[in-house]
């Protein structure tokens, strides 16, 4: 016996209210709970759906919530692994060299103070990039809340902090050899940020392809 659309919606709302907010995690739990209830009905349980559901949740809710917590760890792992893969691809040295040359060119053509002011916008680039992607996918493409998409905020925060550290270091830099360290640090921070944006685009695309056609 199959559950109705209303029954499925009830399970979904219940899990959503139990703090399982990400759709990709919840949909799998909804299917698991629904399959369990359907099996009980097929085995001859003639009680109303709500009574079977209540008993099922009393027995299994703690395990489902534990699954939710572990899923988020997997989502984080997936992001960092994708980022590490990007770091060993040929695009990494290319981006790093291009950033270094770009900063070097800027430094040669601007005074040190103006150069420092110009590069002070770098930390914001990553955050703006992430926000733009998030708005496009959630508002324009109407994608729901997905775990890996929202967990991307953490590595973006790390990249923001990286560039802030480099900029704090820049305050102590005077003309001379130290400017090379500053340019190197900025190039590394910018490369990390650009690779993160690349990883984010891939993750957004994966979720869009996986879930959009069947919503």
């Amino acid at each position: 016996m199959n559950l109705t659309k209303e029954n499925i919606q009830f399970i979904d709302t219940y899990l959503d209210n139990s703090d399982i907010v990400f759709v990709d995690i919840r949909m799998e739990m909804v299917d698991h709970v629904a399959s369990g209830i359907e099996a009980k009905m097929s085995e001859g349980d003639t009680r109303d759906f709500y009574f079977i559901f209540k008993d099922y949740m009393v027995e299994n809710k703690a395990k489902l919530l534990d699954d939710n917590r572990k899923f988020l760890t997997s989502a984080d792992k997936k992001i960092w692994k994708a980022l590490l893969k990007e770091l060993v691809k040929p695009i990494m040295p290319l981006l790093l060299s291009a950033s270094f040359l770009g900063f070097y060119f800027l430094h040669k053509n601007l005074s040190l103070e103006i150069f420092k002011n110009v590069v002070s916008v770098i930390p914001l680039l990553g955050l703006i990039g992430f926000l733009l992607m998030y708005v496009v996918y959630s508002q324009v493409k109407q994608l729901k809340r997905f775990s890996a998409v929202e967990r991307l905020a953490w590595p973006f925060f790390v990249s923001y902090q990286m560039s802030v550290i480099v900029l704090n270091f820049s305050k102590t830099v005077k003309e001379g050899y130290a400017t090379f360290w500053l340019i190197g640090g900025l190039s590394l921070a910018l490369t990390f940020m650009l690779l993160l944006i690349r990883v984010s685009l891939k993750i957004f695309k994966t979720y869009n392809e996986r879930f959009k056609p069947i919503e």
């Binding site: 559950l3 799998e28 299917d31 698991h32 399959s35 299994n60 489902l64 699954d67 996986r210 069947i214």
Partner: protein
């Protein structure tokens, strides 16, 4: 295969001896997916979305290797517990 189907299959194959809970199964599946050993497909079935898992090429190779490791381990344990069987 999907999650619930796996729990039922394991139960049936082991005649109820092994009962995999959702709290153990799904984190393991998600970990294997994150490691690139499993591939995922989502389909709409009976008014809801269902996630199907299948082994990737790397996953198939890893399974063979892990099964060989397990067989070797069991053989070693047998030789320790009962030298006549080894």
């Amino acid at each position: 295969m999907y999650g619930y189907e796996m729990t039922q299959k394991v139960k049936a194959l082991t005649k109820g001896e092994l009962n995999i809970t959702e709290g153990a199964l799904y984190p393991a599946l998600h970990k294997l997916e994150a490691e690139g050993l499993l591939d995922v497909e989502v389909a709409k079935v009976d008014n809801r979305l269902r996630k199907y898992y299948k082994l990737t090429e790397q996953g198939t190779k890893e399974t063979v290797s892990k099964l060989e490791e397990l067989a070797e381990y069991i053989k070693t344990m047998q030789s320790l517990v009962n030298p006549k069987l080894a």
